[in-house]
Protein backbone atom coordinates (compact mmCIF):
# COMPACT_ATOMS: atom_id res chain seq x y z
CA UNK A 1 0.00 0.00 0.00
CA UNK A 2 1.36 3.48 -0.71
CA UNK A 3 1.48 5.92 2.29
CA UNK A 4 0.14 9.48 2.58
CA UNK A 5 2.71 12.20 2.46
CA UNK A 6 2.30 15.88 3.20
CA UNK A 7 1.18 17.76 0.17
CA UNK A 8 -0.94 15.03 -1.22
CA UNK A 9 -4.53 15.98 -1.85
CA UNK A 10 -7.14 13.53 -0.69
CA UNK A 11 -10.17 13.39 -2.85
CA UNK A 12 -13.32 12.34 -1.00
CA UNK A 13 -16.10 10.42 -2.60
CA UNK A 14 -18.43 13.47 -2.75
CA UNK A 15 -16.50 14.95 -5.55
CA UNK A 16 -18.51 13.43 -8.37
CA UNK A 17 -18.43 16.54 -10.60
CA UNK A 18 -15.28 18.35 -11.31
CA UNK A 19 -16.17 21.84 -10.06
CA UNK A 20 -15.93 21.20 -6.36
CA UNK A 21 -14.29 24.03 -4.49
CA UNK A 22 -12.94 23.61 -0.99
CA UNK A 23 -14.47 26.99 0.17
CA UNK A 24 -18.02 25.63 -0.22
CA UNK A 25 -17.57 23.58 2.89
CA UNK A 26 -17.14 26.51 5.31
CA UNK A 27 -19.70 26.94 8.10
CA UNK A 28 -21.80 29.84 6.85
CA UNK A 29 -25.50 30.49 7.41
CA UNK A 30 -27.63 31.89 4.60
CA UNK A 31 -28.05 35.16 6.43
CA UNK A 32 -24.34 35.65 6.65
CA UNK A 33 -24.03 35.03 2.97
CA UNK A 34 -26.67 37.61 2.15
CA UNK A 35 -25.12 40.14 4.47
CA UNK A 36 -21.80 39.56 2.88
CA UNK A 37 -23.33 40.55 -0.46
CA UNK A 38 -23.17 44.13 0.74
CA UNK A 39 -19.49 43.98 0.32
CA UNK A 40 -20.21 43.98 -3.38
CA UNK A 41 -20.76 47.77 -3.25
CA UNK A 42 -18.30 50.36 -2.05
CA UNK A 43 -18.89 52.19 1.21
CA UNK A 44 -20.01 55.48 -0.35
CA UNK A 45 -22.67 53.78 -2.47
CA UNK A 46 -24.00 51.94 0.53
CA UNK A 47 -24.15 55.05 2.69
CA UNK A 48 -25.67 57.13 -0.08
CA UNK A 49 -28.44 54.63 -0.68
CA UNK A 50 -29.24 54.37 3.01
CA UNK A 51 -29.44 58.12 3.38
CA UNK A 52 -31.60 58.53 0.28
CA UNK A 53 -34.10 55.95 1.42
CA UNK A 54 -34.23 57.43 4.92
CA UNK A 55 -34.77 60.86 3.44
CA UNK A 56 -37.54 59.62 1.17
CA UNK A 57 -39.34 57.90 4.01
CA UNK A 58 -39.16 61.03 6.13
CA UNK A 59 -40.29 63.11 3.22
CA UNK A 60 -43.33 60.98 2.62
CA UNK A 61 -44.27 61.13 6.30
CA UNK A 62 -43.90 64.90 6.38
CA UNK A 63 -45.82 65.34 3.16
CA UNK A 64 -48.67 63.30 4.58
CA UNK A 65 -48.65 65.33 7.76
CA UNK A 66 -48.68 68.64 5.89
CA UNK A 67 -51.34 67.31 3.61
CA UNK A 68 -53.48 66.55 6.61
CA UNK A 69 -52.97 69.98 8.16
CA UNK A 70 -53.50 71.77 4.88
CA UNK A 71 -56.66 69.88 4.05
CA UNK A 72 -58.05 70.49 7.52
CA UNK A 73 -57.23 74.19 7.33
CA UNK A 74 -58.79 74.56 3.91
CA UNK A 75 -61.99 72.71 4.67
CA UNK A 76 -62.65 74.15 8.11
CA UNK A 77 -62.04 77.66 6.80
CA UNK A 78 -64.35 76.98 3.87
CA UNK A 79 -67.08 75.75 6.17
CA UNK A 80 -66.94 78.87 8.29
CA UNK A 81 -66.57 81.44 5.57
CA UNK A 82 -68.14 80.13 2.37
CA UNK A 83 -70.53 77.28 3.12
CA UNK A 84 -73.44 79.41 4.44
CA UNK A 85 -73.30 81.60 1.35
CA UNK A 86 -73.35 78.71 -1.07
CA UNK A 87 -76.14 76.94 0.74
CA UNK A 88 -78.29 80.04 1.00
CA UNK A 89 -77.78 80.95 -2.64
CA UNK A 90 -78.77 77.47 -3.68
CA UNK A 91 -81.83 77.55 -1.45
CA UNK A 92 -82.85 80.90 -2.88
CA UNK A 93 -82.49 79.71 -6.45
CA UNK A 94 -84.55 76.63 -5.67
CA UNK A 95 -87.31 78.79 -4.19
CA UNK A 96 -87.29 81.05 -7.22
CA UNK A 97 -87.60 78.08 -9.51
CA UNK A 98 -90.51 76.74 -7.51
CA UNK A 99 -92.25 80.10 -7.64
CA UNK A 100 -91.74 80.26 -11.38
CA UNK A 101 -93.16 76.80 -11.79
CA UNK A 102 -96.18 77.64 -9.70
CA UNK A 103 -96.77 80.79 -11.67
CA UNK A 104 -96.53 78.85 -14.88
CA UNK A 105 -99.00 76.31 -13.63
CA UNK A 106 -101.50 78.95 -12.61
CA UNK A 107 -101.23 81.39 -15.44
CA UNK A 108 -99.95 79.39 -18.36
CA UNK A 109 -96.52 78.96 -19.85
CA UNK A 110 -96.13 82.32 -21.59
CA UNK A 111 -96.21 84.69 -18.67
CA UNK A 112 -93.16 86.96 -18.54
CA UNK A 113 -91.24 86.73 -15.29
CA UNK A 114 -91.70 89.90 -13.26
Amino acid sequence: MFGLEGGDVVLSSSSRDGDYLPEDDDDETTLERITALSEMFPESVRKGTAKTIEFMVKGVKKAYSWGRTGTWFFFSTAIITIAPVLLEVEKYQMEEMQKMQQRQMLLGPNVARS
Binding site: F73, T77, I80, V85, E88, K91
Partner: protein
Protein backbone atom coordinates in the same frame (compact mmCIF):
# COMPACT_ATOMS: atom_id res chain seq x y z
CA UNK B 1 -62.35 92.04 13.37
CA UNK B 2 -59.46 94.17 12.36
CA UNK B 3 -57.81 95.87 15.28
CA UNK B 4 -59.54 99.14 15.82
CA UNK B 5 -56.90 101.33 17.33
CA UNK B 6 -58.33 104.66 18.21
CA UNK B 7 -56.01 106.97 20.07
CA UNK B 8 -58.01 106.67 23.23
CA UNK B 9 -57.72 102.90 23.29
CA UNK B 10 -53.98 102.89 22.88
CA UNK B 11 -53.30 103.95 26.44
CA UNK B 12 -53.82 101.30 29.07
CA UNK B 13 -54.64 103.75 31.81
CA UNK B 14 -57.92 104.84 30.34
CA UNK B 15 -60.94 102.84 29.32
CA UNK B 16 -62.22 102.78 25.76
CA UNK B 17 -65.24 104.88 24.87
CA UNK B 18 -68.56 103.21 25.66
CA UNK B 19 -69.52 100.61 23.09
CA UNK B 20 -72.67 101.21 21.07
CA UNK B 21 -75.65 99.84 22.98
CA UNK B 22 -77.23 96.68 21.61
CA UNK B 23 -80.26 98.43 20.19
CA UNK B 24 -78.17 100.50 17.85
CA UNK B 25 -75.52 97.95 16.98
CA UNK B 26 -76.17 94.99 14.79
CA UNK B 27 -75.33 93.79 11.36
CA UNK B 28 -75.95 95.10 7.93
CA UNK B 29 -79.63 94.25 8.14
CA UNK B 30 -80.00 96.62 11.06
CA UNK B 31 -78.83 100.00 9.80
CA UNK B 32 -79.94 102.72 12.22
CA UNK B 33 -81.78 105.54 10.48
CA UNK B 34 -79.16 108.25 10.86
CA UNK B 35 -76.53 106.27 8.99
CA UNK B 36 -78.46 105.71 5.83
CA UNK B 37 -77.63 108.02 2.98
CA UNK B 38 -81.11 109.20 2.23
CA UNK B 39 -80.64 112.93 1.83
CA UNK B 40 -77.46 114.98 1.71
CA UNK B 41 -77.86 118.70 1.84
CA UNK B 42 -76.50 120.69 -1.08
CA UNK B 43 -74.13 122.63 1.10
CA UNK B 44 -72.56 119.55 2.61
CA UNK B 45 -72.39 117.13 -0.24
CA UNK B 46 -68.64 117.52 -0.56
CA UNK B 47 -68.11 117.20 3.12
CA UNK B 48 -65.65 114.39 3.82
CA UNK B 49 -67.47 113.01 6.83
CA UNK B 50 -65.99 112.72 10.27
CA UNK B 51 -62.49 111.56 11.16
CA UNK B 52 -63.60 108.37 12.86
CA UNK B 53 -65.51 107.35 9.81
CA UNK B 54 -62.58 107.62 7.44
CA UNK B 55 -61.86 103.93 7.47
CA UNK B 56 -65.44 102.97 8.13
CA UNK B 57 -66.26 101.43 4.77
CA UNK B 58 -63.49 98.90 5.14
CA UNK B 59 -63.84 98.20 8.84
CA UNK B 60 -67.56 97.72 8.56
CA UNK B 61 -67.02 94.58 6.55
CA UNK B 62 -65.21 92.76 9.31
CA UNK B 63 -67.43 90.67 11.56
CA UNK B 64 -67.50 91.06 15.32
CA UNK B 65 -67.20 87.61 16.79
CA UNK B 66 -69.31 86.76 19.78
CA UNK B 67 -69.67 83.67 21.87
CA UNK B 68 -72.53 82.03 23.65
CA UNK B 69 -76.20 82.74 23.25
CA UNK B 70 -77.69 86.18 22.94
CA UNK B 71 -81.36 86.99 22.84
CA UNK B 72 -82.48 90.52 22.16
CA UNK B 73 -85.97 91.96 22.13
CA UNK B 74 -86.44 95.34 20.51
CA UNK B 75 -89.60 97.31 20.96
CA UNK B 76 -90.73 100.68 19.72
CA UNK B 77 -92.88 102.39 22.28
CA UNK B 78 -93.28 105.55 20.28
CA UNK B 79 -92.04 106.99 17.07
CA UNK B 80 -88.88 108.21 18.69
CA UNK B 81 -88.55 105.94 21.70
CA UNK B 82 -87.12 102.45 21.31
CA UNK B 83 -86.11 100.05 24.03
CA UNK B 84 -84.29 96.76 23.99
CA UNK B 85 -83.82 93.91 26.42
CA UNK B 86 -80.88 91.67 25.84
CA UNK B 87 -79.78 88.54 27.64
CA UNK B 88 -76.35 87.03 27.04
CA UNK B 89 -75.44 83.57 28.24
CA UNK B 90 -71.85 82.52 27.82
CA UNK B 91 -69.06 80.82 29.68
CA UNK B 92 -66.37 83.19 28.51
CA UNK B 93 -67.89 86.62 28.98
CA UNK B 94 -70.02 87.04 32.08
CA UNK B 95 -73.67 86.35 31.46
CA UNK B 96 -76.12 89.12 32.11
CA UNK B 97 -79.08 91.15 31.21
CA UNK B 98 -78.93 94.62 29.72
CA UNK B 99 -81.65 97.12 29.21
CA UNK B 100 -81.12 99.67 26.49
CA UNK B 101 -83.11 102.62 25.33
CA UNK B 102 -82.86 105.10 22.49
CA UNK B 103 -84.72 108.34 22.18
CA UNK B 104 -84.66 110.31 18.94
CA UNK B 105 -86.23 113.71 19.13
CA UNK B 106 -89.04 114.50 16.79
CA UNK B 107 -87.75 117.99 15.97
CA UNK B 108 -85.23 118.04 13.14
CA UNK B 109 -82.63 120.69 12.46
CA UNK B 110 -82.16 119.41 8.94
CA UNK B 111 -83.86 116.71 6.87
CA UNK B 112 -81.54 114.04 8.27
CA UNK B 113 -80.44 115.31 11.65
CA UNK B 114 -82.76 115.15 14.62
CA UNK B 115 -82.32 117.82 17.26
CA UNK B 116 -80.99 115.39 19.77
CA UNK B 117 -80.53 111.68 20.32
CA UNK B 118 -80.15 109.93 23.68
CA UNK B 119 -78.83 106.39 23.85
CA UNK B 120 -78.18 104.43 27.02
CA UNK B 121 -77.96 100.96 28.37
CA UNK B 122 -77.76 99.69 31.86
CA UNK B 123 -77.45 96.40 33.63
CA UNK B 124 -78.70 95.28 37.06
CA UNK B 125 -75.38 96.18 38.76
CA UNK B 126 -75.91 99.79 37.66
CA UNK B 127 -73.17 99.73 35.04
CA UNK B 128 -74.31 102.36 32.61
CA UNK B 129 -73.21 103.46 29.17
CA UNK B 130 -74.83 106.65 28.01
CA UNK B 131 -74.49 108.79 24.92
CA UNK B 132 -76.15 112.03 24.02
CA UNK B 133 -75.89 113.66 20.61
CA UNK B 134 -77.08 117.20 20.12
CA UNK B 135 -77.27 118.62 16.61
CA UNK B 136 -77.26 122.36 16.99
CA UNK B 137 -77.67 122.86 13.27
CA UNK B 138 -76.63 120.90 10.25
CA UNK B 139 -73.03 121.97 10.67
CA UNK B 140 -72.45 121.72 14.39
CA UNK B 141 -72.85 118.68 16.54
CA UNK B 142 -72.04 117.93 20.15
CA UNK B 143 -71.66 114.51 21.64
CA UNK B 144 -71.40 113.44 25.24
CA UNK B 145 -70.59 109.87 26.23
CA UNK B 146 -70.00 108.43 29.64
CA UNK B 147 -69.56 105.10 31.28
CA UNK B 148 -70.32 104.31 34.89
CA UNK B 149 -68.90 101.14 36.36
CA UNK B 150 -68.98 100.04 39.98
CA UNK B 151 -70.62 103.30 40.97
CA UNK B 152 -67.81 105.42 39.57
CA UNK B 153 -67.43 107.38 36.37
CA UNK B 154 -65.10 105.19 34.39
CA UNK B 155 -64.91 107.46 31.40
CA UNK B 156 -66.40 110.69 30.13
CA UNK B 157 -66.03 112.05 26.68
CA UNK B 158 -67.16 115.31 25.18
CA UNK B 159 -66.90 115.94 21.45
CA UNK B 160 -67.67 118.91 19.26
CA UNK B 161 -67.86 118.50 15.53
CA UNK B 162 -68.12 121.20 12.88
CA UNK B 163 -68.76 120.33 9.25
CA UNK B 164 -67.91 122.94 6.69
CA UNK B 165 -68.38 122.81 2.95
CA UNK B 166 -65.35 120.66 2.32
CA UNK B 167 -63.84 120.19 5.71
CA UNK B 168 -64.59 118.86 9.14
CA UNK B 169 -63.03 119.87 12.42
CA UNK B 170 -63.47 117.87 15.60
CA UNK B 171 -62.38 118.47 19.16
CA UNK B 172 -62.63 115.86 21.89
CA UNK B 173 -61.90 115.80 25.58
CA UNK B 174 -61.75 112.51 27.41
CA UNK B 175 -61.80 112.08 31.17
CA UNK B 176 -61.01 115.68 32.10
CA UNK B 177 -60.05 116.10 35.71
CA UNK B 178 -59.33 119.67 36.79
CA UNK B 179 -58.20 118.67 40.27
CA UNK B 180 -55.55 116.17 39.22
CA UNK B 181 -54.72 117.93 35.97
CA UNK B 182 -55.22 114.80 33.93
CA UNK B 183 -57.13 114.08 30.77
CA UNK B 184 -56.83 113.56 27.08
CA UNK B 185 -57.55 116.12 24.40
CA UNK B 186 -57.78 115.35 20.72
CA UNK B 187 -58.11 117.75 17.81
CA UNK B 188 -58.81 116.43 14.34
CA UNK B 189 -59.09 118.16 11.01
CA UNK B 190 -60.19 116.64 7.75
CA UNK B 191 -60.12 118.38 4.37
CA UNK B 192 -61.46 117.18 1.06
CA UNK B 193 -58.89 118.38 -1.46
CA UNK B 194 -60.77 117.04 -4.42
CA UNK B 195 -64.08 115.19 -4.40
CA UNK B 196 -62.08 111.98 -4.42
CA UNK B 197 -59.13 112.75 -2.16
CA UNK B 198 -59.35 113.58 1.50
CA UNK B 199 -56.51 114.26 3.89
CA UNK B 200 -56.53 114.88 7.58
CA UNK B 201 -54.47 115.30 10.68
CA UNK B 202 -54.96 114.53 14.32
CA UNK B 203 -53.15 115.67 17.43
CA UNK B 204 -53.66 114.01 20.79
CA UNK B 205 -52.39 115.39 24.05
CA UNK B 206 -52.52 113.32 27.18
CA UNK B 207 -51.70 114.51 30.68
CA UNK B 208 -51.34 111.96 33.39
CA UNK B 209 -49.04 111.49 36.38
CA UNK B 210 -48.29 107.94 35.29
CA UNK B 211 -46.63 109.02 32.08
CA UNK B 212 -42.92 109.79 32.38
CA UNK B 213 -42.69 113.52 31.91
CA UNK B 214 -46.28 114.22 32.85
CA UNK B 215 -47.62 114.49 29.32
CA UNK B 216 -47.42 112.85 25.93
CA UNK B 217 -48.41 113.92 22.44
CA UNK B 218 -49.27 111.90 19.39
CA UNK B 219 -49.57 113.16 15.87
CA UNK B 220 -51.15 111.28 13.03
CA UNK B 221 -51.91 112.00 9.39
CA UNK B 222 -54.44 110.22 7.29
CA UNK B 223 -55.69 110.15 3.74
CA UNK B 224 -58.41 108.57 1.70
CA UNK B 225 -58.82 108.11 -2.03
CA UNK B 226 -62.24 107.13 -3.34
CA UNK B 227 -62.23 105.44 -6.71
CA UNK B 228 -65.22 104.34 -8.72
CA UNK B 229 -65.77 101.17 -6.83
CA UNK B 230 -62.93 101.06 -4.38
CA UNK B 231 -61.65 103.11 -1.50
CA UNK B 232 -58.05 103.34 -0.34
CA UNK B 233 -57.42 104.86 3.05
CA UNK B 234 -54.43 104.99 5.28
CA UNK B 235 -52.94 106.67 8.29
CA UNK B 236 -49.43 107.24 9.55
CA UNK B 237 -48.28 108.76 12.76
CA UNK B 238 -46.36 108.38 15.95
CA UNK B 239 -48.80 105.70 17.03
CA UNK B 240 -48.36 103.47 14.04
CA UNK B 241 -49.27 102.98 10.40
CA UNK B 242 -52.25 101.54 8.69
CA UNK B 243 -53.71 100.95 5.27
CA UNK B 244 -57.22 99.88 4.31
CA UNK B 245 -58.65 98.85 0.97
CA UNK B 246 -62.31 98.42 0.21
CA UNK B 247 -63.91 97.30 -2.98
CA UNK B 248 -67.38 96.44 -4.13
CA UNK B 249 -67.22 93.55 -6.55
CA UNK B 250 -70.86 93.44 -7.49
CA UNK B 251 -74.12 94.30 -5.84
CA UNK B 252 -73.84 91.34 -3.54
CA UNK B 253 -70.19 91.07 -2.57
CA UNK B 254 -67.86 93.61 -1.01
CA UNK B 255 -64.31 92.87 0.04
CA UNK B 256 -61.97 94.63 2.40
CA UNK B 257 -58.31 94.33 3.28
CA UNK B 258 -56.54 95.99 6.15
CA UNK B 259 -53.01 96.24 7.53
CA UNK B 260 -52.49 97.93 10.85
CA UNK B 261 -49.35 98.43 12.78
CA UNK B 262 -49.20 99.79 16.28
CA UNK B 263 -46.02 100.96 17.92
CA UNK B 264 -47.55 101.10 21.39
CA UNK B 265 -48.66 97.49 21.29
CA UNK B 266 -45.74 96.35 19.14
CA UNK B 267 -47.78 94.32 16.75
CA UNK B 268 -49.09 94.29 13.23
CA UNK B 269 -52.44 92.94 12.20
CA UNK B 270 -53.48 91.96 8.72
CA UNK B 271 -57.04 91.05 7.93
CA UNK B 272 -58.96 90.12 4.80
CA UNK B 273 -62.71 90.00 4.82
CA UNK B 274 -65.79 90.05 2.68
CA UNK B 275 -69.50 90.70 3.02
CA UNK B 276 -72.19 88.98 1.06
CA UNK B 277 -75.72 90.41 0.95
CA UNK B 278 -78.75 88.79 -0.48
CA UNK B 279 -81.59 91.08 0.59
CA UNK B 280 -84.15 89.14 -1.41
CA UNK B 281 -83.41 86.07 0.65
CA UNK B 282 -83.03 88.18 3.82
CA UNK B 283 -79.54 86.86 4.26
CA UNK B 284 -76.25 88.53 5.01
CA UNK B 285 -72.86 87.05 5.74
CA UNK B 286 -69.53 88.50 6.83
CA UNK B 287 -66.30 86.55 7.03
CA UNK B 288 -62.72 87.36 7.81
CA UNK B 289 -59.27 85.76 7.95
CA UNK B 290 -56.69 87.21 10.30
CA UNK B 291 -52.93 87.09 10.53
CA UNK B 292 -53.26 85.23 13.81
CA UNK B 293 -54.61 82.31 11.78
CA UNK B 294 -58.12 83.08 13.02
CA UNK B 295 -61.10 82.57 10.78
CA UNK B 296 -64.40 84.18 11.69
CA UNK B 297 -67.74 84.00 10.00
CA UNK B 298 -70.99 85.70 11.00
CA UNK B 299 -74.27 84.89 9.35
CA UNK B 300 -77.52 86.81 9.74
CA UNK B 301 -80.85 85.68 8.47
CA UNK B 302 -84.24 87.25 8.82
CA UNK B 303 -86.94 84.74 9.41
CA UNK B 304 -89.93 86.29 7.75
CA UNK B 305 -92.92 86.69 8.13
CA UNK B 306 -92.24 87.14 11.83
CA UNK B 307 -89.83 89.94 12.75
CA UNK B 308 -87.12 87.52 13.88
CA UNK B 309 -83.48 87.58 13.04
CA UNK B 310 -81.10 84.71 13.62
CA UNK B 311 -77.37 85.27 13.75
CA UNK B 312 -74.69 82.63 14.01
CA UNK B 313 -71.02 83.24 14.60
CA UNK B 314 -68.17 80.77 14.34
CA UNK B 315 -64.60 81.67 15.16
CA UNK B 316 -61.79 79.16 14.71
CA UNK B 317 -58.25 79.83 15.86
CA UNK B 318 -56.04 77.35 14.07
CA UNK B 319 -52.93 77.99 16.09
CA UNK B 320 -54.51 77.49 19.49
CA UNK B 321 -57.00 75.01 18.06
CA UNK B 322 -59.90 76.84 19.69
CA UNK B 323 -63.38 77.16 18.27
CA UNK B 324 -66.09 79.47 19.53
CA UNK B 325 -69.68 79.33 18.46
CA UNK B 326 -72.13 82.12 19.09
CA UNK B 327 -75.81 82.20 18.42
CA UNK B 328 -78.08 85.21 18.59
CA UNK B 329 -81.76 85.69 18.20
CA UNK B 330 -83.37 89.10 17.84
CA UNK B 331 -87.07 89.79 18.11
CA UNK B 332 -88.43 93.03 16.78
CA UNK B 333 -86.96 95.37 14.23
Amino acid sequence: MGMNISRCEADPTILPPPPPPPGQGGGSLNEPPQQQETYVSEKLKNNPGSYEELHKKCKELFPLPFEGAKVMINKSLNQGFHISHSITMSSITPSGYRFGSTYISAGMVSPQDPAFVLIADIDPSANLNAQGIVNYNENLRFKYASQIMNSKFASTQLTADYRGREWTATGTIVNPNIFNNTGIGVVQFLQAITPKITVGAEIMLQKSPQIPGGRTTMLSLCGRYTGDESVWSGFAGTGGLGLCYYRRLNEEIQIGFEIENSIVQQQTNVALGYQFDLPKANFSMKAMVDNNWTVTGVLEKRLLPMPFMLSLCGSLNHVKSQFRLGCGFTVGV
